[in-house]
């Protein structure tokens, strides 16, 4: 049976557009509002990435750190991630949810219990920032057994040979990090160069769905729209921060912003 993630990419392909993936943090600014936010985003986004915040995110820049700290300060607990996902899936049955975070959180929760709860709450995939290949081999296998996508990451520093091995062990979706940066950095590589690298990856196995993330904002998104999928994260986290400061309703604001992103890649 095809996964929800696979079906989503096939659907986008039929519509001749990239999939739009959004990243926001569970419980940012609090549990209830973060659910409202993804509910509002999901009208336009194809795949919802839900971050489980970590106190020490070594791969993240300021915007996601701010969102994570806000969530933790407002009482985030790991189980909230699943409750939010679960409620979301009641509204959006077929919209894939991917959880994203750092390995220590999964490790403390227990890999098996984590996967069980993913399954129960309808989570389709997992991105683990600091569990690279081959460290992720065992966990990725466990995910596969549960029909959950373990999403492998590739970076500009990844060698061709390593890419082949990683892609061989990948599931339906692969994530290409556009540049040498933490999240939230300014796009410092030309879209042309990024797409060149991207196409090299695509050639290794054309059956894999490869998305591009890092540095994607309303300004840069359209220049990369020939990719199969684009991930927008820090830009959304910053929008939450800004709308809280201005006392706007973040869910409403995020809906508009994601609508606008979507328009730019149609």
């Amino acid at each position: 049976m095809k996964s929800e993630i696979q079906l989503t990419f096939e659907n986008c392909k039929r519509e001749n557009r990239p999939a739009l993936l959004t990243y926001t943090v569970a419980s940012d600014p609090n549990k209830k509002k973060s659910l409202q936010i993804i509910n509002s985003i999901a009208k336009y986004a194809d795949i919802i990435e839900l971050g489980f915040p970590h106190s020490t995110p070594v791969g993240d820049g300021g915007q996601i750190q701010t969102s994570s700290n806000r969530a933790i300060k407002n009482g985030f607990k790991m189980r909230d991630t699943f409750q939010i996902a679960n409620k979301f899936k009641k509204n959006y049955k077929n919209k894939p949810v991917i959880l994203m975070g750092y390995y220590n959180m999964i490790y403390q929760y227990g890999e098996n219990k984590f996967l069980k709860d993913c399954k129960k709450s309808g989570v389709s995939g997992i991105i683990c920032v600091d569990l690279p290949w081959p460290e992720n081999k065992d966990f990725a296998k466990k995910c596969k057994k549960k029909s959950i996508n373990f999403i492998q990451l590739l970076a500009p520093t990844t060698t061709k040979d390593r890419m082949r091995k990683i892609i061989k062990d990948s599931h339906d979706m692969v994530y290409y990090i556009s540049m040498l940066s933490t999240t939230g950095g300014k796009l410092k590589v030309s879209p042309k160069k990024i797409l060149q690298n991207y196409n090299k990856i695509r050639k290794i196995n054309p059956n894999k769905n490869v998305v591009i993330g890092f540095g994607i904002t309303d300004k840069t998104i359209s220049s990369l729209k020939s990719a199969q999928g684009l991930v927008c994260g820090s830009f959304l986290c910053k929008t939450i921060t800004d709308s809280l400061r201005l006392r706007h309703n973040p869910a409403e604001k995020l809906g508009k912003v994601v609508y606008n992103l979507k328009k730019k890649i149609l």
Binding site: Y103, N104, D130, A155, I177, G185
Partner: protein, 413 residues
Amino acid sequence: MSLKIRKGIPLIDQHDKNGMWGGKFGGNFVPETLKKPIEDLENLFSKLRKDKSFIKERDYYFENYVGTPTPLIRLDNLTDHLGGAQLWAKVVSENPGTAHKVYACIVHCLIAKRAGKRYVCTDTGAGMQGKNLAMVAKKFGLKAKIFMGLRDLVRQKKNVDVMKKYGAEVVPVTSGSQTLVDAVSESMRYWVANCQDVHMVIGSTVGPSIFVKISGYSTSQISRELKVQLIEEFGKIPNKLKLLNCVGGGSSAYGFWSEFIDYDKKHVSLIGVEAGGSKKSKLHAAPLSNNSKLGVLHGAKAYCIQDNDGQIGETESLSSGLDYPSVSPLHCFLKDSGRAEYTSATDEEALNAYKLVSKLENISPSLEPSHAFATAISLAPKLSKDTILCIDSCGHSLKDSDIIKEKLGFYTE
């Protein structure tokens, strides 16, 4: 089941192909971007370790720049005062960088040069790592960027001034607790974004496995010297020897112990002293002596202060250099194999130890080694006169003069 340490092989090399010690500590839990830079560094380091010209250069700088050996002195007055074991100190702080950090900074800068990198970055807590990297980088013509938590920047300002004097850029880190843990995170983030031009240095035996190895490889110089000095002094390694060292990340302790790990623990016992924090507070920076759970921080699996969810826990110590929630995988391995034992000393005990040692002896340990002195002071009276208690005085107190003045009302260098 307890883990087994193999004999005849340096502990830094007793890891598996994934960089794990004892099958459960260490590793490389890093973002994909860093895999290649780490692999390059691993390959370069393993080549350089076998390269005679590299070792010659390393030894040249150890001898002529650090000055080898750093003194081993008998603490006669302290020994008489306490009655019991003989106290000795290896005054590692007697080097131009006033701390053990100088060894790894030299080795890292030599590696950076050979890797063709012109920039180095690092974390610092007490400012000793920052000061040493700034100093050595300047000597080698490299540009240094030092990440330091804002809280440490204030409490260890004296070292910040020195870093700046050497021309390093000091970047205040304002995230999280604004201490060492955040400095390491920020330095790693900077490396993620700049790994093609920058060589990252980590200030202790923590982080991805290659950094544990390079740090431990470098500080091992301390125990190579100590072994020779002990044999010169006693004609052999004394029958009852105890080596006491403070443990933050653990590079100082590993370096002080590495040559002695193969000895039976009844012959040479290894005692690590972590930071217990203020006696009035529940917080501490002592994951080993408080049986903290295994966790993943900064690329390595190790015992780590954290909550049930896996959020890294808050720490507290008067000594910035020991104020870190996790600890080296090497020390986790030494603990679980039963080879070393770990305890902690409080802020107050460390201050009292500083007071006594600096009053009676002609040395002035910083707050970090004062933790080890505190444990030595409490142990010595209970031990026989033929027991040799040797303490690594790995940092000079000058950087702590403001804190000491505030707490004790005076400071003597």
